[in-house]
């Protein structure tokens, strides 16, 4: 009786504790399309309700990008993909510096895009993926006030911290793919350090430039 009771008790405790350990992990593993939808709606609602941001308050927009978007973007992976074969040739410090500069450039780029949101809405297409795919693509389209909707897709990769965005497709062009040539030619001309410097200079330039509100 006693050993069995003990056995049951141990089993119960084990199950309970593992479920406690496992449950948060499951809760954190948000499905990629749910994640993207949530971020997208969140960001758009924030921009639409905030007059300051619409007027072009750069600090607020950048804060928005940093707090609501960047945590879900794997900038290092994006840099690695954009650098291609040169990534392995770069030292650890160079990789770190390059990632940071590229992440900053992305922040400025997203900020510029966000400051132009007015009445656009986003529709998400049905999400299909094979079970267990480590990389997925979430498709959406941005309905513009004028002209056709713009195709906007996200490629996400699974990491221990959940799904992260590693590439964006606007109108059929993937961002990483588009930066690949620029990275390759710059590295070819001036090496990885040259590329880091160029990105750094561009970021300085963007930091000093106020975000323009679109002339509507």
């Amino acid at each position: 009786m006693k050993p069995i009771a003990q056995l049951i008790a141990t089993a119960a405790v084990a199950a309970f504790s593992t479920s406690i350990l496992v449950a948060p992990a499951y809760a954190a593993a948000e499905a990629p399309d749910v994640l993207v939808k949530r971020i997208s709606n969140d960001v758009i609602d924030t921009v639409k309700s905030d007059k300051d941001i619409q007027a072009g308050n750069s600090k607020k927009i950048i804060d928005l990008v940093n707090s609501k978007i960047l945590p879900y973007v794997d900038a290092e992976k994006m840099t690695q993909l954009a650098a291609g074969r040169f990534w392995r040739q770069a030292s650890a410090e160079q990789q770190k510096a390059l990632s940071e500069e590229f992440r900053t450039l992305l922040v400025y780029t997203y900020s510029g895009a966000l400051s132009q949101i007015r009445n656009e809405t986003v529709d998400f297409k049905p999400f299909r993926t094979a079970a267990g795919d480590p990389e997925v693509v979430v498709q959406s389209q941005v309905n513009m006030t004028r002209g056709e909707p713009i195709q906007l897709d996200y490629r996400l990769s699974q990491t221990p911290q959940g799904w992260k965005i590693i590439d964006i497709n606007v109108l059929g062009a993937w961002l990483v793919e588009t930066y690949k040539s620029t990275f390759a030619s710059e590295i070819g001309k001036n090496g990885v350090d040259g590329l880091i410097k160029k990105l750094h200079d561009r970021n300085q330039q963007l930091a000093n430039k106020p975000l323009k509100a679109p002339q509507k």
Partner: protein, 301 residues
């Protein structure tokens, strides 16, 4: 009318000549005409800075919104007819009818195309042209080519230019003065609609020439392959596969293994189903170009 075509042909021929004669010995295999392209790009940039962008900015500021929309709709409507022809040429019957209906509805009920009532009615706008039709039928795009004034293109699309020019309804308008006014207006309208995006581009791109080139080539490829509809096509294929699977199950009187490959009973019948089942979620531009439905990959297991 002949003048315009002759000029387009002449332009293409002159370009061809200058390309073969001019130095193509650059170090970029992806962009063999890079020197020529960069020169054209600077030229176009100058024209844009000096003339087009200021005109578009002023146009956007000064013209009332509904007039801008009307102009945009009018020219868009003309392009729908040619798009419809190209849809049929690509054997996309439903899209061809869609575009033709757009043209018909907007031209009549839309007061000559000024009102776009087709889009709210659910008829999506497509933008097919002769270059895409050629691409659909397997003509490779050829290297990147930056055309003076006309902007980025590829060798194939430049060769298709006389055809697209002929298919452009506005090009058949007389008198020529009115036609030219319309051409300028259309250019200004199109420039105005991408004003904000081009400002963004200046920030995001390290090398604008390369950024525009790579973005354009990807976008063009995506348009030829209709990647935005890849999901729909994959779903159609999936539906057909489901139907076939149901039929097979009925005939055999057994339940086939679920599509996620777990190696259960009926491996022979299940395997082909599993092999075709996973819809492609990859970006199609990375797959080898194929005019057929998106090639699906086997479920990764």
């Amino acid at each position: 009318m002949m003048n315009r075509h002759a000029r387009a042909l002449g332009l293409a021929a002159a370009l061809g000549a200058s390309l073969t004669l001019g130095g193509c010995a650059t170090n970029n295999p992806k962009d063999p005409f890079e020197k020529f392209n960069r020169t054209m790009f600077s030229f176009n940039d100058k024209v844009d800075q000096v003339a087009l962008k200021p005109a578009a900015t002023a146009y956007k500021k000064v013209t009332p919104g509904f007039v801008q929309t009307g102009v945009n709709n009018f020219f868009g409507n003309l392009s729908d007819l040619w798009s419809s022809v190209n849809q049929f040429a690509q054997l996309k019957g439903q899209d061809g009818l869609n575009d033709f209906m757009r043209f018909a509805v907007n031209s009549t009920l839309g007061l000559g195309g000024v009102l776009d009532i087709a889009t709210p009615a659910g008829m999506r706008k497509h933008n097919e042209d002769l270059g895409q039709t050629l691409g659909y039928w397997g003509v490779p795009s050829g290297p990147y080519l930056m055309l003076p004034l006309l902007g980025p293109s590829t060798v194939r699309d430049t060769a298709a230019l006389p055809g697209d020019s002929w298919g452009d309804g506005w090009m058949h308008l007389y008198p020529v003065n009115d036609r030219n006014t319309g051409i300028v207006l259309r250019a200004v309208d199109q420039r105005a609609s991408v004003l904000d995006a081009s400002n963004l581009l200046e920030d995001a791109a390290l090398d604008r020439y390369e950024f525009i080139r790579d973005g354009y080539l990807q976008r063009r490829n995506s348009k030829v392959l209709d990647t935005d509809k890849a999901q729909e096509r994959a779903e159609k294929v999936q539906k057909k596969v489901d139907q076939v699977q149901e039929k097979v199950e009925q005939r055999l009187g057994v339940k086939l293994a679920p599509r996620v490959d777990d190696g259960s009973a009926e491996p022979e019948t299940a395997a082909p189903a599993a092999g075709n089942a996973a819809p492609a979620t990859d970006s199609a531009p990375n797959n080898p170009p194929a005019p057929a439905p998106v090639s699906s990959e086997p479920a990764p297991k």
